[in-house]
Structure formats: structure tokens, C-alpha cells
């Protein structure tokens, strides 16, 4: 990260001003002629790597909207909160956004844990919420929209492809929280459906950095390929140690997370060649919206920006979906926007067409299967307009508009 003098001075002055106010009245109220949008992301601490690009794409989307004249004749103002990778800050700032800053919508939350902290708060204080992150599926709540993917949209394709390409025996390594646990269950199901078999599953805390014992265990289990559902700063260590033991090329690797945090930039192409992934977005997709988006984004943030994947793209899509809802409703009122979005609004995004599914508040979108070669993903196959089949099986907000929970989907 680099700080230029101007932002430093601005922020320093800001802190000075904030500190001069009597606590805890930290923020001055914004002018009433803007529409406020809250961004709750981890911009420091362990999840900073994910949070920073999400905030950048969110700001970029808001910039586009404002440059085109804003919404309902007003400019959109982003109120940013750094949740510092701490759950308690999510609770604190969600309250602040809803009650003090009275924002029209909250975008944010990275881990499922943070979403489950924010969601009840925003339900309680009646503030619209967009959770712009690929996750394990099952959230069923009329106040929330999830403009990204769930395992039912991506993992099935990835497993089918790897079974065909690498072989029938798979060993799963997953992050030890509900995203990893539930995704590991889906891997088991899809592997069985495709005539394959899971020969081992292991869960890791998010700070795991030593995989040497695991690599020995993998060799003992003799799988054809490894499914990596790893999350956290230490995941690079797995790919590195796997390659250092000479297993790259011998045992295939597929991943639901690889590349999302720029892992391929740290690792050498030799260590990453052949890793299979399946995402809603990667920069190598060819379409006019994407070309235009990349051009503008790189002009603003520099051409060397870490390649974007579905995580930051979800923030971008989330903001545009919300804006489309506001335009259609002609108001920023929560229920009006929800009803407008529930008409099944569709917008053309860099990842292709994104349509709100009225029954689940998830999205119908394109997914792309790719393989890493020479340090970048090469698209192998695309699957247009995939429905969130997993969440669909448990959630119907049309029939049960008062649902407020996350279902655990029976795999």
C-alpha cells in the first residue's frame, strides 16, 4: 500500500476533527441531498487482502453511477467503515450505519460469520442489506440480497470437470468454518453423483501455514486430485509445499478459492499450472462490458492492480443491482427497493447477465470454468445463466416472506 501525502493530510485532519468532537459523536452528519451507502469491509487485520479490492470496486461502481448523474437526481455518498477483521466491530458499525448515519443500504461483510452478525442488526433496524460475497448458500431473508455464487452454481461444474480430467479419487482440504464444511459436503455429493469417491477430508484453521504432515497424508491416501477449499493468508503455503514435494502434475488440483487473493502472483507458474477453478468472474472473460470495465478500472487504479475475481466483482455487481432497484422503484425506501428488485431485475455486467431471483434473493448468473496456465486463468468452458439450485431447494421468499434464517442445506 502506498500513501500519498494528500490522502494522509486529509485523513490526519479528519482524525483531528473527529477527535476534537466530544466522544462518541465521531462522525458529522452528511448533507441530506445525497443518498448514503454504507461499506463495511475489513480494511485492516487478517482479511484486509479481500476487503481492499472489494471497497475499490464498490467505489468504482458508485463513481460510475455518480458520473452518469447519480440516482433520482442525487449523488451517492459512500460511508466507509473499517471493521478491522473483528466481529464486534461489524456489530458496532452496522448499528452506526443503520441508526446514526441512516444509510439507504449496507454493502459488506466478507466471511459468513460477519454476515450473520450484520444481518440480524439490519433486520432489526430495517435497513436494506447486500452481501456481496460468494458463500455456502442457504440464507433466506427478505431484507438481504446475495449477488454472487453458491456451491450449487460452481462446485458441481468444477467437480464434474476434475473427475473427468484427473480421475475418480479426490482428497478434500477445506477451511474449518461453515463455508469450508458445507462446500466439502457438496464436493462429496457431486463426486458421488459423478461416480467418484472422496478418499479423505481434512479441515484447517484459517491461520494454518504448515501443510507438511498433510502432504504426507495425501500421498498415503493416493488420490487422483485434491480439492482445495482453503481460505486465509496461509493457503499459499499449501500450494508451495505441494509443489516443493514434487506432487504438482502428479496429483491434480482444483480449487474453489485459488486466485481470489492473487495467489498466482506470489507463486511461480510452475507451482500453479493446471489448477482448475470455477468462478462467476475472471478478467479473461471476453465481452464488451468487461472490456469497458477493465479499461476504466485500470485507468483509475493502475494496470498492475491484482487481477480481479468474483469477490470484488460481486461488490461491483451488488452496487449496480441496488442502483437498478432504486431507479425502478423511484425511491430509496427499503420496501419499495425490495419489491422493485423482486420483479426480477436483470443487468448486463462484466461477468455477463445478472438476474435477481425473486424467490431466493440470490442471483442467476454466468459461471466460467478455467485452468491456470502461465500464471493466469484460461477459460475452458462457460455455463450461462446458472440458478442458485442449492438455496432454491430450501428457500422460497414468495411463499414465506417472513423467513429470517440461514438454512443448512441437506446434501
Amino acid at each position: 500500500m502506498t500513501i500519498d501525502r494528500r490522502t494522509f493530510l486529509k485523513t490526519a485532519a479528519g482524525i483531528g476533527a473527529a477527535a476534537a468532537l466530544p466522544m462518541p459523536f465521531v462522525r458529522t452528519a452528511g448533507a441530506a441531498d445525497t443518498i448514503k451507502l454504507a461499506a463495511l469491509y475489513d480494511l485492516s487485520g487478517g482479511l484486509e487482502v479481500s476487503g481492499k479490492p472489494m471497497l475499490d470496486t464498490l467505489n468504482y461502481a458508485v463513481g460510475e453511477i455518480n458520473a452518469a448523474g447519480g440516482l433520482l437526481g442525487k449523488q451517492v455518498e459512500v460511508v466507509t467503515y473499517d471493521t478491522q477483521s473483528a466481529m464486534q466491530m461489524y456489530g458496532q458499525y452496522a448499528q452506526q450505519a443503520a441508526l446514526k448515519d441512516r444509510v439507504a443500504v449496507v454493502h459488506g461483510g466478507i466471511t459468513s460469520a460477519s454476515r450473520e452478525v450484520i444481518r440480524p442488526v439490519l433486520d432489526k433496524y430495517k435497513t436494506l442489506y447486500f452481501y456481496d460475497t460468494p458463500y455456502e448458500g442457504g440464507v433466506c431473508d427478505r431484507n438481504i440480497f446475495c449477488p454472487s455464487t453458491t456451491p450449487g452454481q460452481t462446485v458441481d461444474k468444477l467437480v464434474a470437470y476434475a473427475l473427468k480430467k484427473f480421475g475418480k479419487k479426490v482428497y478434500t482440504l477445506a477451511a474449518n468454518y461453515n463455508y469450508g464444511q458445507i462446500t466439502a459436503d457438496w464436493v462429496k455429493k457431486y463426486a458421488k453423483d459423478g461416480g467418484g469417491e472422496v478418499v479423505g477430508t481434512e479441515f484447517f484453521p484459517l491461520d494454518a501455514a504448515d501443510f507438511s504432515a498433510t502432504i504426507s497424508k495425501i500421498q498415503a491416501a493416493k488420490p487422483d486430485w485434491v480439492m482445495a477449499v482453503l481460505v486465509g493468508g496461509g493457503t499459499i503455503s499449501f500450494y508451495r509445499q505441494f509443489a516443493a514435494a514434487g506432487l504438482g502434475g502428479k496429483i491434480g488440483v482444483a480449487s474453489t478459492t485459488f486466485g481470489g487473493n492473487g495467489e498466482q502472483l506470489v507463486l511461480s507458474p510452475k507451482e500453479t499450472d493446471g489448477i482448475a477453478v470455477c468462478y462467476n468472474y475472471m478478467e479473461t472473460i471476453q465481452n464488451p462490458e468487461n472490456a469497458k470495465f477493465l479499461d476504466g478500472f485500470h485507468k483509475k487504479f493502475g494496470a498492475k492492480y491484482t487481477p480481479l475475481y468474483e469477490l470484488p466483482m460481486s461488490s461491483y455487481q451488488g452496487v449496480h443491482l441496488w442502483a437498478a432497484g432504486v431507479r425502478k422503484a423511484g425511491s430509496t425506501d427499503r420496501m419499495a427497493v425490495i419489491k422493485a428488485l423482486e420483479t426480477g431485475i436483470a443487468i448486463d455486467m462484466p461477468s455477463g447477465k445478472v438476474t435477481v431471483d425473486p424467490t431466493t434473493h440470490h442471483c442467476i448468473l454466468n459461471v466460467y470454468l478455467a485452468e491456470f496456465h502461465d500464471g493466469g486463468p484460461k477459460v475452458v468452458q462457460d455455463f450461462p445463466q446458472q440458478k442458485p439450485t442449492d438455496t432454491e431447494a430450501v428457500c422460497n421468499l414468495k411463499d414465506h416472506p417472513n423467513d429470517r434464517k440461514q438454512y443448512v442445506i441437506k446434501v
Binding site: A19, S44, T80, D82, M87, M89, A113, P205
Partner: protein, 353 residues
């Protein structure tokens, strides 16, 4: 004039004044503050209770507990699990104080009857917090549940029901009620501890901190006093945990983390170990600062907190409380000088309750 005020502050009148300020805040703040600010103040007050617990254990018991977060976390999880299973919050609240106390009693027995002292107590308590963190952090699978309450691993337990009026599960406290409960708890804990320190028990606890061997030679069993001090601290930390889980309707394994323990230690250090008011003030200041730091993106929060801790250890040992005391003593001297010229005798600075 200043001399009279400071004399007042030193005597019982000081306690009374402080109690009046506390009661004023208790009943005044909900009237004057909007809901959002009141919610923020509530969480700061919760942290103040937590800071108070370590302030007592470390500052008066002389026990280097680097794992105070264990008791905090146990309180929070006990409340979360019990209230999810029972529905009514009365017994869960009591359990959230009882479980950490019992655990502290067992841990204290293990530590103090092994004649383990200072830094090794720190290592063991820190290690225990690491154990809790690792274990709770890896309970994400559906097989880990107590009754209907899933422990949830890294994700923690969301949607924890709030505290209700005793045995009236439908009367959940509103934000004002939660504030009354939290602020009331702080006042009870603070004045309870102040009273305790004037009793024989309290004096022996402080004597053990000062010179363990001498206390033993006088016929007291130092181990018992340390055990009781640790257990009492754990009970208060457990209460804070319960209030914390209630405040956010959420608890996650980070309550057990080393970072959480470090936070508590920073509050106590900045406020001033060896006093009770210091940690309370330290916790509120630092929590507020952390929240301010989160609304800007230039200065990294841990950079600032680390710097503050360094400055306080190196330049301001004794924390804010010591600075205030020095200022008061200096003022008293000045005042006493004037008074001495008038009535011809020296004031008696320095004594404190």
C-alpha cells in the same frame, strides 16, 4: 480550596461523589442520548467491566494473568449456549458467572498449588487461552453442539436471544434496559471491589502481592488468597462476557484470542494498574479510539495501539491514574503551601484509600 477538594476526594466524600456521578450517568445517559450512541456506550461499559476484572487480578492480586480473555469468552459462550437451549435468560446469566468462576478455581488450584509464580503464571494462562481459541475455532462441524445450540467454530454463534426480565422470557430488555443492566453491573462491581479492598480479605490479597513470603510467615495461606482473587476476577470477566454476547447477539472464538487478552492488558496498562478507576477509564478511551481509527484508512489501528502501549510502558508507567495522582498531589502541595502559611501546618499528601 484545591486542598479541601482533594482532601474530599481522598476520603469517603470522594467515594460518595463518584457514586453520585455513576448514578447520574446510569439514569442520565438514556435520557440524553439517542439509541445508537447509547448502544455504543453500552459496549464500552461492558469492556470497562472486563478491564475492571483484570485491574483487580493484576493490579491488586499481583497475578500476571495473560489469559483473562478465557474467562470473558467462557462467560459469553456459556450465556450463548445456555440461553439458546433454555429460552429464559435468568439461569444462563447466573451460569455465565458460575462457569468461568469454577474454571478459574480449577485452573488456580492447578497453578498456585504447584507454587508457580509470576511469569510462569503468565505462560500458563496465555497457553490456556490459545487452547480455548484453537479448540473452539475448530468446532464448525454440525457434530459440535450442546443441546440445540451449535457452537459454530470460526463463525461463532449468531442470533443469541437477549436478556429478559427474570423468568419472563417474553420481556426482552430494550436498549435502555440493557444499558441500565450493564451500567448497574459496572457500578456494583466497582464499588463492591472497593469495599472488598477495605476488608481483611482485601488487605491480605494486597499483602500477598507485596510480599508473599512475609504473609505466609504471618500464618496466612497465600495460595488461597490468590485463588480467590483469580476466581473473583473470572466471575466479573464472565459477567462482562455475558453482557457482551447479549449486546451483539453474537459470540465468536475471537473472544478467546490473544489479541483480546492483549486488549484487556492495554486497557489496564494505559489506565493504570493498581487502581480500579484507571482500567475503567483506560478501556473506555481505547475502545473509543479503536472505533475512531476504523472510520479512516491511513493510520493502521495496530500501529497506533502498539505505539500507545509502548509510550505508556516507557514514559508513563502507572498509566493515566498515576498522572492524575501526581497532578493531584502537586495541586495538593500547592494548596497545602498556601494553607500552611495561613494555619501553620503541613498537609499530608500521598495517602490514598
Amino acid at each position: 480550596m484545591i486542598a479541601q477538594v482533594s482532601a474530599l476526594l481522598r476520603g469517603h466524600a470522594g467515594t460518595t461523589a463518584l457514586a453520585l456521578v455513576g448514578l447520574g450517568l446510569l439514569f442520565g445517559l438514556p435520557l440524553g442520548l439517542e439509541t445508537y450512541v447509547l448502544l455504543q456506550v453500552t459496549v464500552y461499559v461492558t469492556f470497562a467491566i472486563l478491564a475492571l476484572s483484570l485491574g483487580f487480578v493484576l493490579g491488586f492480586g499481583g497475578i500476571l494473568c495473560l489469559g483473562q480473555s478465557v474467562f470473558f469468552g467462557l462467560g459469553a459462550y456459556t450465556y450463548g449456549i445456555a440461553v439458546t437451549d433454555m429460552g429464559d435468560s435468568t439461569i444462563p446469566v447466573l451460569l455465565s458467572v458460575a462457569v468461568p468462576s469454577l474454571f478459574a478455581a480449577a485452573l488456580g488450584y492447578f497453578i498456585f498449588w504447584g507454587r508457580i509464580s509470576d511469569v510462569y503464571v503468565g505462560v500458563i494462562t496465555l497457553t490456556v487461552s490459545l487452547i480455548f481459541f484453537s479448540v473452539v475455532n475448530s468446532t464448525a462441524g454440525p457434530q459440535y453442539h450442546i443441546g440445540a445450540a451449535a457452537i459454530g467454530g470460526y463463525n461463532g454463534m449468531p442470533n443469541i436471544p437477549g436478556i429478559n426480565l427474570p423468568f419472563e422470557p417474553d420481556d426482552t430488555l430494550d436498549p435502555n434496559g440493557v444499558f441500565y443492566l450493564t451500567m448497574g453491573s459496572l457500578l456494583v462491581c466497582y464499588f463492591g471491589l472497593r469495599w472488598l479492598l477495605t476488608t481483611t480479605f482485601g488487605r491480605v490479597v494486597v499483602a500477598v502481592r507485596e510480599n508473599e513470603r512475609r504473609v505466609e510467615l504471618l500464618g496466612y495461606d497465600a495460595r488461597r488468597y490468590k485463588l480467590l482473587a483469580l476466581t473473583l476476577g473470572a466471575a466479573i470477566a464472565g459477567l462482562a462476557g455475558c453482557l457482551f454476547a447479549n449486546w451483539g447477539s453474537f459470540v465468536g472464538p475471537s473472544v478467546f484470542s490473544v489479541v483480546q487478552s492483549a486488549q484487556i492488558l492495554i486497557w489496564v496498562t494505559v489506565g493504570g494498574a493498581g487502581t480500579l478507576l484507571g482500567p475503567v477509564i483506560g478501556s473506555i478511551l481505547i475502545s473509543w479510539l479503536t472505533a475512531v481509527l476504523g472510520t479512516q484508512q491511513t493510520l493502521n489501528a495496530s500501529l497506533v495501539l502498539g505505539f500507545i502501549l509502548l509510550v505508556f510502558v516507557l514514559v508513563v508507567p502507572g498509566g493515566i491514574a498515576a498522572v492524575a495522582r501526581r497532578a493531584r498531589t502537586a495541586a495538593a502541595r500547592l494548596g497545602a503551601f498556601g494553607a500552611a502559611r495561613r494555619i501553620g501546618r503541613e498537609a499530608h499528601p500521598g495517602a490514598r484509600p
